[in-house]
Structure formats: structure tokens, C-alpha cells
């Protein structure tokens, strides 16, 4: 019995060791976002709270926590409060199977990639239920838009993952990274270039970020599904959205850019130095690169029209992915990638 409790305590500690840094990362991601977009628009961004504005995220967090949660009249109280939790839970749970290094993973399960796909597809419930339970037209429309968009792009995303599975021959995320071992050119971005691009764009659409942020398009439906949310309930939605963005970035790094592998692997001079050997730092660097792309998109592209989003997902991305899965199969058959 003592053993069981010790195992439980150790597991909880490990979970905390993942959840806590993610929360901090989300806080500084918002700071990063405001700074990056600020400089892209020739502004300075937040620079008042703390040196260089570094304490701004904490100021925001405390402001949110001390605000009142207003529950609209005739809203479904239980579902209204449950929705943010339903949005956050899958966003954090999916991190359980993300390998940060060769040995650094909480749950090294066999069907890891399917687990992540299943959990990211469940995140939409928070948005859908939140939109419905608010008893507000704008919130409902935002929730419905988000649901349709997520289901559509999930198909393209799933097919992009099939390409990765074909080349790596495993559903295990650690195995997928190990299958990319070699050099910069043996990472899957090269043989699966169209799938790589489609995966990340679908990821941006799944997380309802610009230019696909019609679920909260402020010029059309106020703030979409979280129109009626305030205070810490809104903060939880916010946390879920950013945790999902970092998750998609981490997955793109794992599946297509070789996860923790070093880009200088096999270069004789570097050998076992920090640059030559794989490690967590490479994984974090690649994840940060995709996070930056999210912000760059937001500062650059105008919002898509809703029917164009649907057309892009169904009529452009899905056919390309189906063709490229077959191309990946041919690569495998010829033995160019993924061994025999």
C-alpha cells in the first residue's frame, strides 16, 4: 500500500514538473506575443511592469484572478463553469505523451500520436459548450464556427500524421523521432514537405488563431465563444488556447523537425558538444520557432472569410494529403526513407 502511494506521489510530482513550466511558458508566450507583434508594428510593446516589462504577464494574471466572474441570466450555470475546464484539461493531458528527450517522457505509450490527436479533437467541447451555455447569440455562433472548423481541419491534420506514420512505421512519438535520426536531411520535413506545411496550417486552424480566428472574430461576433466570460473563467480559456498553441508547435517539432535531435548530428568536429548532441534544448528551440510562426502569422495575414476556410480545408488540403500519403508509401517501398 505504501508503495502504491509512493508511486502515486512520484507520478503527481512528474505531472507537476510538466504542468508548472507549461503554465509559465503560456504566461511568457503572451508577453512574447505582445513584444513580437509590437516590434513588427514599430511599437515597443509592454515595457512598464518590471524591467523590459517582464513582469507584465503576472500583472495580467492577478488582474484576471481578482475580477468577478459574471454569469449571464438564463445561462446554464453548471455547463458555463464546466466549459473552461473542459477546454483546459485535454490541452494539458496531451503533454503526458510528449517526449522532451530520448528518456524524458511521462507516459511512453504505444499509440502516442493517436492519443494526442484524440485529445486535441476533444478540446473543441469546451468552446462548443461554453458558447451554448452562455445563452448569447454571439457566443453560440462562435462556438458553432469553431466546431465546424475543428472537425474539418482535423481530417487534414490526421492525414498529415498518416504520412509520418507511414515513413516511421510506429505510432510511438519517441519512435517517430528516432526514425528521423541521421542528419538535417533525414528529418521528415523534406520527404513530407507538403504534409509538413499542411500540418502546421491545420494546427493554426485547430487552435482558432489568426488568420483562422473566425471563432472569435471581433469585427463580426464581438468575441465569439468567450463573449460572456470574464475573470478567471476567461483566463482558463486563454490558458487552454495558448497551451494548445505550444502543443501544436511541439508536435510539429517532434514529427517533422526531428524533436530533440541536433541539426548538426554527424558533423565530425562538433561530435558530442552541446551543438552536436541531441537534447532538450534543441526540442525547445524548435518549438519556439513554431510559436514565433504563430505570432508572425497573426501580425501579417488578414483574417480568412469563413467559406474560404472551409474550401481550403476540404477542397485543397485533404486531396493534397491523400496524394502525398501515396507518395510517402512509394518512398517507403523504394527504401529511400524509413528503412525496409
Amino acid at each position: 500500500m505504501i508503495d502504491a502511494f509512493l508511486t502515486l506521489a512520484w507520478t503527481v510530482t512528474k505531472i507537476m514538473m510538466i504542468v508548472f513550466p507549461i503554465t509559465i511558458a503560456v504566461a511568457y508566450f503572451t508577453y512574447f506575443e505582445r513584444k513580437v507583434i509590437g516590434y513588427m508594428q514599430v511599437r515597443r510593446g509592454p515595457n512598464r511592469v518590471g524591467p523590459l516589462g517582464l513582469l507584465q504577464p503576472f500583472a495580467d494574471v492577478f488582474k484576471m484572478l481578482f475580477k468577478e466572474i459574471i454569469i449571464p441570466t438564463n445561462a446554464n450555470r453548471f455547463l458555463f463553469l464546466l466549459a473552461p475546464v473542459l477546454a483546459l484539461a485535454p490541452a494539458l493531458t496531451a503533454w503526458a505523451v510528449i517526449p522532451f528527450d530520448d528518456w524524458l517522457v511521462l507516459a511512453d505509450i504505444d499509440a502516442g500520436i493517436l492519443f494526442v490527436l484524440a485529445l486535441t479533437s476533444m478540446g473543441v467541447y469546451g468552446i462548443l459548450i461554453g458558447g451554448w451555455a452562455s445563452n448569447s447569440k454571439y457566443a453560440l455562433l462562435g462556438g458553432l464556427r469553431s466546431a465546424a472548423q475543428t472537425v474539418s481541419y482535423e481530417i487534414a491534420m490526421g492525414f498529415a500524421l498518416v504520412g509520418v506514420i507511414v515513413l516511421s512505421g510506429t505510432l510511438n512519438l519517441t519512435g517517430i523521432v528516432q526514425a528521423q535520426s541521421g542528419s538535417l536531411l533525414s528529418w521528415f520535413w523534406l520527404p513530407l514537405l507538403p504534409l509538413f506545411v499542411i500540418y502546421f496550417i491545420s494546427g493554426v486552424a485547430e487552435t482558432n488563431r489568426a488568420p483562422f480566428d473566425v471563432a472569435e472574430g471581433e469585427s463580426e461576433i464581438v468575441a465569439g465563444f468567450h463573449t460572456e466570460y470574464s475573470g478567471s473563467a476567461f483566463a482558463v480559456f486563454f490558458l487552454a488556447e495558448y497551451a494548445n498553441m505550444i502543443l501544436i508547435s511541439a508536435l510539429a517539432a517532434l514529427l517533422f523537425l526531428g524533436g530533440w535531435l541536433s541539426p548538426f548530428q554527424g558533423v565530425p568536429v562538433l561530435g558530442d558538444t552541446v551543438l552536436g548532441a541531441g537534447g532538450v534544448h534543441w526540442f525547445l528551440l524548435k518549438t519556439a520557432l513554431f510559436c514565433f510562426l504563430y505570432l508572425w502569422f497573426r501580425a501579417t495575414f488578414p483574417r480568412y472569410r469563413y467559406d474560404q476556410i472551409m474550401r481550403l480545408g476540404w477542397k485543397v488540403f485533404i486531396p493534397i494529403t491523400i496524394v502525398w500519403i501515396m507518395v510517402a508509401g512509394v518512398f517507403r517501398l523504394l527504401g529511400w526513407y524509413g528503412g525496409a
Binding site: 499509440a111 493517436l114 479533437s121 476533444m122
Partner: protein, 200 residues
């Protein structure tokens, strides 16, 4: 392993309770959400049986896609607390018949497996992969059944699309190819105007 059994009975209770709620609650959105909960607890029970591939696919397909579309439609329809509860008498005889048939089938499955079988399965040996085992069985021993099922699904997809995809007169469509090819000269005419509005 008593902990596993506690977890099993916990999820079973949630499953049965939420399945009952699906048919008894008045609000259709709540009913759909209870259906999501029952799918999810069924997936958890499958996970306990070490059928992780099936469990995750159940969540992915039913919870992640099918039920989202269900909720989508139910929320759009805006049906209030339904009158289905008052019409339960009309469905009762057929419902009982179906329930009886299903119950009989379940009973026979349990009977043929033997009553001595335990709740939790034996743990699988190290390195056993449920996912690859399913793949091997589907693509070797049961290949024909699998392909026939796939063809039936394909026919159903095409039939569903062709049933809903009918041309209605008077609807307007956009042709993105033509939209992209538009040139400024075709759409914009610059007119020089004098300040009093007369064309020069």
C-alpha cells in the same frame, strides 16, 4: 489488483448512469452531452482491457468528430425541452423488443465464454503491441471482411453526398479560380471629375 477493479466499476457506473440520462433528460443538448460522457467511459473501460488502440479510436471518432457534429446540429435546431418524454408510450413496445434481443445476445456471449471468466484480463507480456496486432489481423486473416466493410462505407459516403448535393435553381456560387483571375482593368474605371461633379 483491486485498484483496477475499483476503477472498472467506477467507469461502469458512470457509463450506465449517463446512458440512462441520455434517454431520460428533457433537453436534447444535455442528452447529447451525456452520450459523449457514456462514449468516454466506454473508452476508459476498453483502456482497462488493454485495448488502447480501440479506446483511443473510439474517443477520436465518436467523441471527437461524430458527437461534435451531433451537438452542432442539435444546437442549431434550437429544440426546447423535447416532448419525447411524453411520447414514451409509443416507442415502448419496439424499445422493449430491441432491449430484449440485445440482452439475450449479451447473455449468450457471457454464457459461451463461461461464467468463471474474470473481470480484468491477464496482463500482456512485455513488448506486446495491441495496435500492431490489430493491424496484422485486419490485413491478413480478416482482409476480405475488412475490405467489404470499407466498400460498404464508401458506398454509404457517396450515397449520402449525392442525396444532399442537389442543384437548386437560384443559388449563387463562387468560383475561386475566376475570382483570382480578375484584373483591375475589368472592374475599375477611373473617371476624371471636376469639383462640381460634371464628367470631363
Amino acid at each position: 489488483m483491486p485498484i483496477m477493479e475499483i476503477v472498472f466499476y467506477l467507469f461502469s457506473a458512470v457509463l450506465v448512469a449517463s446512458a440512462l440520462c441520455v434517454v431520460t433528460v428533457g433537453n436534447p443538448v444535455h442528452a447529447a452531452l451525456f452520450l459523449v460522457l457514456s462514449f468516454f467511459s466506454a473508452a476508459c473501460i476498453w483502456m482497462l482491457l488493454q485495448a488502447e488502440f480501440l479506446a483511443i479510436v473510439l474517443v477520436l471518432v465518436y467523441v471527437g468528430a461524430v458527437m461534435v457534429l451531433f451537438l452542432f446540429v442539435v444546437m442549431m435546431l434550437d429544440v426546447g425541452p423535447s416532448r419525447a418524454a411524453s411520447r414514451i408510450g409509443a416507442y415502448l413496445p419496439v424499445g422493449l423488443l430491441v432491449a430484449l434481443a440485445m440482452g439475450l445476445q449479451l447473455f449468450m456471449v457471457i454464457w459461451t465464454r463461461g461464467l468463471e471468466s474474470q473481470v480484468m484480463p491477464e496482463p500482456r507480456p512485455e513488448g506486446y503491441s495491441h495496435t500492431s496486432e490489430i493491424g496484422r489481423l485486419l490485413y491478413t486473416d480478416y482482409l476480405y471482411a475488412f475490405e467489404i466493410a470499407a466498400v460498404i462505407l464508401l458506398v454509404a459516403i457517396i450515397a449520402a453526398i449525392s442525396l444532399t448535393h442537389r442543384r437548386r435553381p437560384g443559388t449563387r456560387h463562387q468560383d475561386p479560380g475566376r475570382q483570382v483571375q480578375v484584373r483591375r482593368e475589368e472592374r475599375v474605371r477611373l473617371v476624371k471629375m471636376s469639383s462640381d461633379g460634371e464628367e470631363r
